[in-house]
């Protein structure tokens, strides 16, 4: 049964596989059970084009694996953007 915990667990496992590329990461997960939409924020330390694309590949593969289960909406966000007020509000 899909829940925030199952989504987070699977995404965390997939992100661990690219942690050498993206550095420290965190996941923000929201689950809308009625609409069956998972909204995910991928916060990554190394926010460069190549590492950002690695995250998008992970997010896309995750979505493809669950096309019959639910929809995924996601953002890839620099880790420091949630720590730096000036950056976040730019």
């Amino acid at each position: 049964m899909t829940s925030i915990d199952t989504i987070r667990y699977e995404l965390d496992s997939r992100m661990q596989e690219i942690s050498n590329d993206v550095g420290k990461f965190d996941l923000s997960v929201r689950w809308e059970p009625m609409a069956r939409i998972a909204r995910v924020g991928f916060l990554v330390q190394n926010y460069e084009w190549a590492s950002r694309m690695r995250v998008i590949e992970v997010a896309t593969a995750f979505q493809r694996a669950h096309l019959d289960d639910f929809a995924v909406d996601f953002d890839v966000i620099p880790y420091e953007s949630v720590l730096d007020t000036e950056f976040a509000e730019a």
């Binding site: 694309m53 998008i56 896309t60 493809r64 096309l67 953007s81």
Partner: protein, 138 residues
């Protein structure tokens, strides 16, 4: 067929807008670029007879409803070959509108570089959709 022509015209116009804004407003150029890609996708979807009519003319980016999925889900399911590139353009378009003052923040400080990379992704989406459309016409 008329719907497809409409979407291709919108796609071309949005790309023109991207080029117009490129030097002064690269973050908005990225938004226009994504909406150009979106209309190329819609042009291809318009002729997909195996899809429900609501999926030949999708009205939302994200959604799980049967026969009325969001465009992102339709792209990933029907056109997996451009899924990653389309999602990259979608993500960058949203981030540049809502989160960041400048497209390049966090991407190396050079506005031109990420936009050039995005245009490469847009080109692949465009080529795929036009080939898809042409293959059904013949």
């Amino acid at each position: 067929m008329g719907s497809a022509r409409f979407h291709i015209a919108r796609a071309e116009r949005n790309y023109d807008a991207c080029l117009f804004m490129r030097s002064e407003y690269p973050e908005w150029a990225g938004v226009a670029l994504f909406y150009s890609a979106l209309h190329y996708v819609d042009a291809a979807l318009a002729d997909e007879r195996h899809l429900h009519k609501d999926e030949r003319n999708p009205r939302k980016h994200v959604g799980f409803e049967k026969d009325a999925r969001g465009r992102n889900q339709i792209v990933l399911g029907e056109y997996p070959g451009i899924g990653v590139e389309y999602m990259s353009l979608y993500d960058m378009s949203r981030r540049s509108r809502y989160d960041l003052g400048r497209l390049s923040v966090g991407l190396g400080g050079d506005d031109a570089t990420p936009l050039t990379l995005m245009i490469g992704q847009w080109q692949n989406v465009k080529d795929f959709c036009l080939k898809r459309k042409a293959s059904r016409a013949s």
